[in-house]
Subunit: 387 residues, 2 copies
C-alpha cells in the first residue's frame, strides 16, 4: 500500500519512521513546506501542494498530521472525495467534525481512523471500540494529557510552583510555547468527547462538556493534598446514568491505592468499565514522536488489512447531564460566595484564603459555581474527591 | 457463525453468556456431562460426545474450555482435522503444545486463537501481537496470577499469615481447592512462556524457565517489606539480552511509585516494552466468568472477521539465559549456606533467622541457590528488588 503523509512535524515524521519497518507499506509522498531538515535523503518525496497528493492515483491512504481544524478538514475531505482512506492523530479535527467526516467517508467508500487522537501511543480507542463488540461500556475516565500530568507530578515531587514547573515542561518539550489547550483542559475535553462517543455510540459535543483545568493550582494546594495522602490528576470523566451521560473534565484527588496516583511524569492512564470485562485500564505514552507515530501506522495497517475497529458507531442519542454525578470537592478560594455556601462541609482559613471540603454535590452544580467564581474574578481552585 | 463450546465450567458458561449479545453468532452445541445446572432452557444444545461436535458440518469453530492438557489436546486436534477453528483460554495446553497445534492448524487451513490464556479478561496477547506489527518488543513482565495477588495484597493490608489468606482466597473463589499451580508459580510460568513467545517470536519451553513462587512467604517478610515502603508481587519476567532471552518467575518488591504496588485484590497488570511505543501496560481482571468469557468471544469474532492477531509467529530461536539479568534480592533463611554467602551484602538476624539483602546477582545464580536451599530442606523465601 502506498501512503502519503500530510504535515511533517513530530507525529508526521514519527509515522514516517515507523512505516519503514512494515513490509508492503510505502510512504510515496510527503506534504511539507520544503524538504524537512534531516530528511534530505528522501527529498524526492516532498510535495508542495495537497493537489499533488489528491491527484496521485497510486496513493491509497493519507495520514493527516497538520493539526488544527479548518485546513486539515479541507484536505481530508478533498482526499476522501478522491477515494483515499484517512488516518489522523488530530483530536481537534475528530472532536469537532467527526459526523461530517464520517458521512463523507461513507459516501466515498473509504475509511477514517483516528486511534492516536486520544491516548497517543496507547491503543485506547481501538480497544475501546473492540470491547464494544462483546460488552456494554458504562464509563470511561483517565489521565489523557501528558503535559498536565508532568506538571502535577513535578509539583507533587518537588513542592515547586505551577509556573516553575510549566517552564520546565516547556524546556523538556512536554509543553508547547502556548500551553493554554493543555493546562486549561481543552485538550482533555476533546479526548473526552471522542472517547465518550466511541464508548457509548453517541455524539456529544465539546460545548456540552464542562471543563476545569489546572492553570490556577498552587503549591499550597499540592502541599495540602500531600498531607492528606492525596495526589492530584487532571481527568476526563464520562459515564452512563440512565438515559443520559455525565461528561466533564476536572482535577481529581486520588488516594495512595489508586493506579492514577502512581502515574508519573508525562504518562497517561485510561480506563473503561464494561458490564462483562469490569475495569480495564491502559497505561503508556500519550504523546511523542515514535509512540504516536507507530500508533498512526497501526491504524494504517488496520485499514490495509480490513480491520475496522476505530470508527464511532452512533446508535444512541445521549444528552449530557451532570446532575446525577455527585461527589465531594476540595475548593481553595479567596472568598466564600453564596454559590458554594450551601454545600460547604468543612471550612478552614489558611493564609488569607479558605480551604473548603464540600458535601457531596453534583458536578453540574460545582462547575456552575466555578463559572460564577471566575466571573467574580475570584482566585480559586477546585478538585473532585470521590465519594 | 455457529460455534460449539467444549467444557462448560466457569469460562465455558461465561463464553456462552457473552455470545448471546453478539449478532450473527450462535452457540449450536455444548459438550458437558449432562445438562448444566441453570441451563435447562437450552437442554437441547448439550452433547455427550466430542464426535457429535466433530461430525457436525454446521459448526465452524470450537471453544475448548475443559482445562488440562491431554484430553483437550486430543479434542482440539480432532476438531482442527475436521476443519474447525479453535479458541481456547487453556494456558496449560498452549504453553505445552503450541507448536504441534499450530502446525495442525496450518495443515488444515484453520486458526487457533488463545488471547484469554494469559490475562483472562485483558486483551493482552492480542495487543502484544498487534504491537509487533510496528515495533520490536524488548521485554514483557507482569502480575498475571490473580490468586497470588489476592493473597499478597491481603497479607499487606491485614498483616495476616499466608495460610489464613489462602483459606480466605478459597472461600472467595479466587483459589482452587488445590492451589499448587497458582502459589508455586507454575500458572505464572505458563503465561510467561506464552507471552515471551508471542512477544519475541520464539519458542522457549516451560522447562527453560526457573520458577519461584510465594508458597513460603511469611507475615514477617511482608511486615519487613512494609517498613521499607515496598510491596511484594509475583511477577512474570522476560526480556531480550543480545542473542538470548532472560525468562523467569519470582516475587518482586516494588516501591510506592510503581503501578504494580497499586494493583489490589485479584487484579492483573501486564506490561510490554517496545522500541517505539515505550512502556505499555494493561490492567484488569485476569480471570472470572464474564471477563474471560467475553475475551473468548472476542477471539471468536476475530476469527470470524478474518482478524489474525493472536498467533505466535516464530521467527527467531532465542535460548533462555538468565545470567545477564542482574539485580539485588531479599532473602529470609534459617541458615546462610555457602551458595549465597558470596553475594550477601547486608545480613541481619531476626527471630532465629537471617534477613539478607544481596549484592546485585544474576537471576540464574539466585534461582540455582534457591534450588540448593530447597534441597537442603532450609526454610527460606526470596524476592527480587530491582537494581
Amino acid at each position: 500500500m502506498k501512503i502519503a503523509i500530510v504535515g511533517f512535524g513530530v507525529v508526521g515524521s514519527g509515522a514516517y519512521e515507523a512505516a519503514q519497518s512494515v513490509k508492503g507499506l510505502e510512504v510515496a509522498a510527503i506534504l511539507n513546506k520544503g524538504v524537512a531538515k534531516g530528511y534530505e535523503h528522501i527529498a524526492g518525496l516532498f510535495r508542495n501542494s495537497i493537489d499533488d497528493i489528491v491527484n496521485d492515483p497510486e496513493i491509497d491512504l493519507v495520514v493527516e498530521a497538520i493539526g488544527g481544524v479548518d485546513l486539515p478538514r479541507e484536505y481530508v475531505m478533498k482526499c476522501m472525495n478522491a477515494g483515499k482512506h484517512i488516518v489522523t492523530p488530530n483530536k481537534n479535527l475528530i472532536s469537532a467534525c467527526y459526523e461530517e467526516l464520517s458521512a463523507c467517508a461513507k459516501a466515498n467508500g473509504v475509511r477514517i481512523a483516528f486511534t492516536p487522537s486520544s491516548g497517543g501511543g496507547i491503543p485506547w480507542l481501538f480497544n475501546l471500540r473492540r470491547t464494544r463488540r462483546t460488552d456494554r461500556i458504562s464509563a470511561v475516565r483517565g489521565i489523557v494529557n501528558g503535559t498536565c500530568n508532568y506538571i502535577l507530578d513535578a509539583m507533587h515531587q518537588s513542592g515547586a510552583s505551577f509556573d516553575d514547573m510549566l517552564v520546565k515542561a516547556k524546556e523538556l518539550g512536554y509543553a508547547e510555547s502556548n500551553p493554554a489547550a493543555d493546562i486549561e483542559g481543552t485538550d482533555t475535553l476533546r479526548k473526552t468527547v471522542i472517547s465518550a462517543n466511541t464508548a457509548f455510540g453517541t455524539s456529544i459535543k465539546e460545548s456540552d462538556v464542562p471543563v476545569y483545568g489546572i492553570d490556577s493550582i498552587k503549591a499550597c494546594d499540592i502541599e495540602y493534598f500531600g498531607k492528606l495522602g492525596l495526589t492530584c490528576r487532571l481527568m476526563m470523566n464520562a459515564s452512563i446514568h440512565g438515559d443520559s451521560v455525565s461528561a466533564y473534565v476536572e482535577p481529581v484527588l486520588f488516594g495512595p491505592d489508586a493506579l492514577e496516583a502512581s502515574v508519573g511524569t508525562n504518562n497517561n492512564l485510561i480506563t473503561l468499565v464494561g458490564d462483562c470485562v469490569g475495569t480495564l485500564s491502559f497505561y503508556g505514552q500519550g504523546a511523542g514522536k515514535m509512540p504516536t507515530g507507530q500508533s498512526v501506522i497501526q491504524d494504517v495497517i488496520d485499514i490495509r488489512d480490513g480491520i475496522n475497529l476505530s470508527a464511532i458507531e452512533t446508535s444512541a442519542d445521549y444528552k449530557v447531564d451532570n446532575t446525577a454525578e455527585v461527589h465531594r470537592y476540595y475548593i481553595r478560594c479567596s472568598e466564600i460566595l453564596p454559590c458554594i455556601e450551601n454545600f460547604c462541609d468543612k471550612v478552614e482559613e489558611y493564609r488569607g484564603a479558605y480551604r473548603v471540603i464540600t458535601k457531596p454535590v453534583s458536578v453540574a452544580c460545582m462547575h456552575e459555581a466555578g463559572r460564577e467564581m471566575r466571573e467574580e474574578g475570584l482566585a480559586f481552585f477546585f478538585a473532585g474527591m470521590g465519594e
